[in-house]
Amino acid sequence: MHQLYPLATGPLLYAAIFLCIGGTLIQTGLLVMETYRRERSVFSFLSLKSTLLSMLHWATPFGSTVMRKNVVLTLVGFLFHIFLVMVPVFLLAHVLLFYEAWGLSWPTLPGWIADAGTLTVSAACLFFLVRRLAIPELRYISGPMDLLIPVLVFLPFFTGFWASHTLPGFRVVHLVHIVSGEILLVAIPFTRLTHMVFGFLTRIHTSSEFGGTRYAKDW
């Protein structure tokens, strides 16, 4: 088991980071290039003001009508996305790894916030999964990948909490944490998790169309 740590924290980690960043850049670059090649007119309708205004509304809790109609989902969704990014980036243990490897460091989250955030993300994944299975219109549009993605996100967070609190079996769980985190990173550019980037692109286009051409709100 211990022999796997160097593999998981060495080549596999670098490969995962490379595939995540490289894959995302390539996917995004290809999409933008294809837009330029085949739907170039899209660029002439882009509106910075409309995009910023729309993004401001969508980035503000309850800033859009659909958020006000779905209070619980909005709260869970916002907390989930905030901690999903904050916890891995600002976790003391992760920052230490970067410091040891490259001498880089940045501010970190207090332990209790990191713990609360990790549990929030884990619980939110379960919420999304239950919601997907319980609501008929969601079940109808869900495929295996839609069920798998919450599990992919849940695993590194929950196992991270488990391992950091040295709960029983933490050594194995720690390995699962590392590997599942790497799988999640690789999944970003190749699954619906691409919405991390593409979601901004579609929002830019739609906001520009609504605000810049149609003079209507899209929130």
């Binding site: 085949r38 899209v42 109808y140 549009i141 839609d146 919405h195 899209d218």
Partner: protein
């Protein structure tokens, strides 16, 4: 849904769809879908399909989904799952039955109203995607009989109702005669070169709603507007080809419309109270032709009436007393943001205005737009069932008059009022304006 309604839905047979299906093979279908997806779509479609996280938030935006008791098959994402995603899953090799189902969904179960777009956190444009499905069906020749007849009319006559050139001119002269009973000095100027405004209408006006031309003429005359109508093709601004998926005809229609305006050297085009026509001229057809903005400024009737009122060119004599409500047409509200100007007009002309809820960009669709009413009688029961939330929304206002500046909305709401036995009437804005304005400027 009652058993008889279920039976009515189950018994729909569309000759236009069935006729072509018999000749299709999975190979032919694949060739057409490949061609459309590879040569007519690009990153937009890819981004929408990849970005949608199946959160289901679009469901509650759709009047079909709400009216059909939250049937998942009618949710926007559900419709994409049954069409484009099915195409992808099957690698574009579909059976005739699968294409029939896709055509029925695309043409008759989505009004392309774009309400779901503003309920999507990523702004995924389901209406655009359903438009792609319609384009595929059009290229396969699988289009509902009635809307295809309209597209044929556009192709042959450059108007949607087979109105011949002499019939158009005769109708204008007849309406001029009628209007002169009210305003003896009134003229409807045909082919006046250099006029400030070219007024364009949709073909149902000369065909069976000619009084609207009469009322527009009264309005123009009393406001002392320098206007004209073309006597040649281009007078009809409607565009059902846009909705049947026939982009080539859509382009011809839009070009003919603008060419008429250019030939007459007018400063701008004022369009009658039609929503889809505005979408074609302002948003879709012009861009298909490569014009990022219309080559001749285009003004929808709402904006025009608003200008007349605020500039004092027309004055209101006595406001409408009956309680009125306003239905926001998708194509000029989500499509052009004219909702506040429309409300200004209503407040200026009506004493008792009751808002519908939801309203403005969030209004429910009339159920008729997007070419759905143009798919004709076979689908009327379905259209009425899909309008249940619309009927409830209208009923809650307690108004006596529903005002809506769009032909499709007008026809759709007219059907809804009858079907759901709502004691109300539906009016265009020009009906209210001409009834309440002073007889001389």
């Amino acid at each position: 849904m009652t058993p008889s309604e279920q039976a009515a839905l189950a018994s729909i047979v569309d000759e236009g769809i069935e006729r072509k299906l018999a000749t299709l093979t999975p190979e032919k279908i694949k060739a057409v879908i490949d061609a459309v997806l590879n040569s007519e779509t690009g990153s937009r479609l890819k981004a929408y399909l990849k970005t949608c996280v199946r959160c289901g938030l679009c469901s509650d935006a759709c009047h079909f989904f709400l009216s059909f008791d939250r049937d998942p098959a009618f949710s926007p994402a559900g419709k994409i799952r049954q069409t484009l995603e099915l195409f992808i899953r099957e690698k574009n090799r579909l059976t005739a039955d699968q294409i029939r189902k896709a055509a029925v969904i695309a043409y008759t179960e989505c009004n392309l109203c774009r309400r779901c777009v503003i309920y999507c956190p990523f702004g995924v444009d389901t209406a655009y995607m359903i438009g792609v499905v319609r384009r595929i069906c059009h290229r396969l020749g699988v289009t509902p009989l009635y809307i295809q007849d309209t597209a044929h009319s556009h192709s042959a006559c450059m108007n949607q109702m087979w109105v011949k050139e002499d019939e158009w001119i005769d109708t204008i002269l007849w309406q001029e005669d009628d209007a002169r009973e009210e305003d003896p000095d009134l003229r409807i100027p045909l082919e006046k070169e250099g006029a400030e405004i070219m007024y364009s209408v949709i073909a149902p006006e000369p065909r069976f709603q000619a009084d609207l031309i009469h009322k527009a003429a009264i309005l123009m005359n009393r406001a002392n507007i320098d206007w004209t109508l073309p006597a040649t093709p281009g007078w009809d601004n409607s565009d059902m080809a846009m909705y049947s998926g026939d982009n080539e005809i859509m382009g011809r229609i839009t070009r003919t419309h603008f060419e008429a305006a250019e030939r007459l050297h007018v400063k701008r085009i004022v369009m009658g109270e039609c929503g889809h026509a505005f979408r074609s001229v302002y948003d879709t057809g012009n861009r298909w032709l490569g014009w990022s903005r219309p080559p001749v400024p285009v003004v929808h009737a709402i904006e025009f009436y608003h200008d007349l009122l605020t500039s004092g060119k027309i004055r209101i004599r006595e406001k409408e007393k009956r309680p009125v409500t306003f239905h926001d047409p998708c194509n000029v509200v989500r499509g052009r943001g004219l909702h506040e100007k429309a409300r200004d007009i209503i407040r200026a002309t009506c004493e008792n205005f009751v808002e519908m809820t939801p309203n403005r960009e969030h209004n429910y669709c009339c159920g008729a737009g997007g070419g759905v009413i143009n798919c004709g009688p076979p689908y009327k029961t379905k259209r009425m069932l899909a309008s249940r939330v619309k009927a409830e929304q209208i009923r809650r206002t307690g108004a006596e008059v529903v005002i809506t500046p769009c032909h499709n909305c007008h026809s759709g709401i007219h059907d809804i009022l009858h079907h759901y036995k709502l004691p109300m009437t539906v009016s265009f804005m020009v009906d209210i304006l001409t009834a309440t304005m002073e007889t001389s400027a």
